[in-house]
């Protein structure tokens, strides 16, 4: 593929911050989904000057494709360092695709309590939803060729970058 057809992740992050600014308060809880979602949530948290610390969840134990794909090699412990009961939450993921990760994340969240409301922020929405799930805050919508996927990378300096992958099948 000539050049890099993908948008700059740092610019998408700026767009996401501006969308979210009027919708969040200092008590809003950001919940990043491992691993890319946590990177995005950390940057949003910093830019939006939220008081509540960032939470990170790993939805591996809640996935519905576990029987087919097995357990992810590097499962992290979910850390939600605040009470979610009656709090406004924003789930943060890097790439929104089928919606199944978000379904798993919602199920996990409700094992911790009953939030006042949950919104969804995604750096990239690549379509292809298999569940009735939509993001309220989106950095950019991408149209990909069949067999392509997109992943978020973070360099040593903390800069975010999107990477295109051709699936080998």
């Amino acid at each position: 593929m000539p050049g890099n057809p993908l948008p700059d992740a740092e610019q998408l992050l700026t767009a996401l911050i501006e969308q979210m600014r009027p919708a969040v308060g200092p008590e809003t809880g950001l919940i990043g989904i491992h691993t890319g979602g946590v990177w995005v949530a950390e940057r949003l948290h910093q830019a939006l000057k939220l008081r509540t610390p960032v939470a990170a969840i790993d939805v591996s134990y809640y996935r519905d494709d576990y029987a087919a794909r097995g357990l992810h090699r590097d499962v992290k412990r979910s850390e939600i360092p605040f009470e979610i009961e009656e709090r406004d939450l924003v789930l943060v993921d890097d790439v929104l695709y089928t919606g199944r990760t978000i379904r798993a994340a919602l199920n996990e969240l409700f094992d911790y309590g009953r939030p006042a409301g949950v919104k969804l922020a995604a750096l990239v929405d690549r379509g292809g939803r298999q569940l009735p799930i939509a993001a309220q805050f989106v950095g950019a919508t991408l149209v990909l060729e069949p067999g392509q996927s997109v992943a978020l990378k973070r360099d040593a300096g903390g800069r975010l970058r999107l990477e295109l992958r051709e699936e080998k099948r």
Binding site: Y62, Y66, V75, R77, Y112
Partner: protein, 317 residues
Amino acid sequence: MWLNPSNPQLDKKGQLHHLLTLEGLPAEILWQILDTAKAFVGTKVKKVPLLRGKSVFNVFFEPSTRTRTTFEIAAKRLSADVINLNVTVSSQTKGESLLDTVDNLSAMHADMFVVRHGESGAPHFIARHVAPDIHVINAGDGRHSHPTQGLLDMFTIRHYKKDFSSLRVAIVGDVLHSRVARSQIHAFSTLGCPEIRVIGPKTLLPAQVESLGVHVYHDMRQGLKDVDVVTMLRLQNERMQGALLPSAQEFYKYYGLTPDKLAAAKPDAIVLHPGPMNRGVEIDSSVADGKQSVILPQVTFGIAIRMAVMSIMAGTK
């Protein structure tokens, strides 16, 4: 044969399918289990839906309370249905063969068998005969192996000591009858522990135990000198037939872990015991309940290890 011919515990892709022994299990798999277990320690939500709809059969041909209970808790925290079968008091006494018992249990749609058996090799035998989608975990077989105990010991040691590459460890007591000791020795060597010692009277150490790469000591103070980890073994009273020992009192005098003998080890050495303990035989109460003891954390970590093993296995087809 659908299993990996070089190691019947692994499937063709080299993933864990049965857990029968730590001998010959690649370091990569051991680290995978230890890393996965970390995610289950100290979590606020105890129960996750991973194994919902799966049936785990605890099949115990030999009595055990702790191991069976921790397997049961682990399976329940993963949302599996757990069925406990105490076979010592059922079919076996009526003369049913091991294979018939297993075939009958398979017909009840088990997804996983957790097997304890008095005969070495029984779980291996069962694993070779079950349908390809059924997983078998060895929960202790004869003198052979007790892999989840070995793993939880490694998890505990890693938790307190961080790294195996500079550790000096000592395994003390009745090594001859101990499946725990064999599992520990294999795990220590696979994980790169540089110095493994076994300490015990000649009558309770297996012949040619040195061939496993361990250093043999018959004197506690020499053997414990400057070690980082002391793992005690239970004196297997019920298995001690014949005159291997003059008396439990004499064993305590020479090999019981007292504060005085423990002083030979490093000041920050930790003490492990797989339980159940014989206080005043292999371990003194003041050590068992003392600051260096990590015996109760071992039990807690045992649940996380068993959760990790079950979640990794049930995800391989």
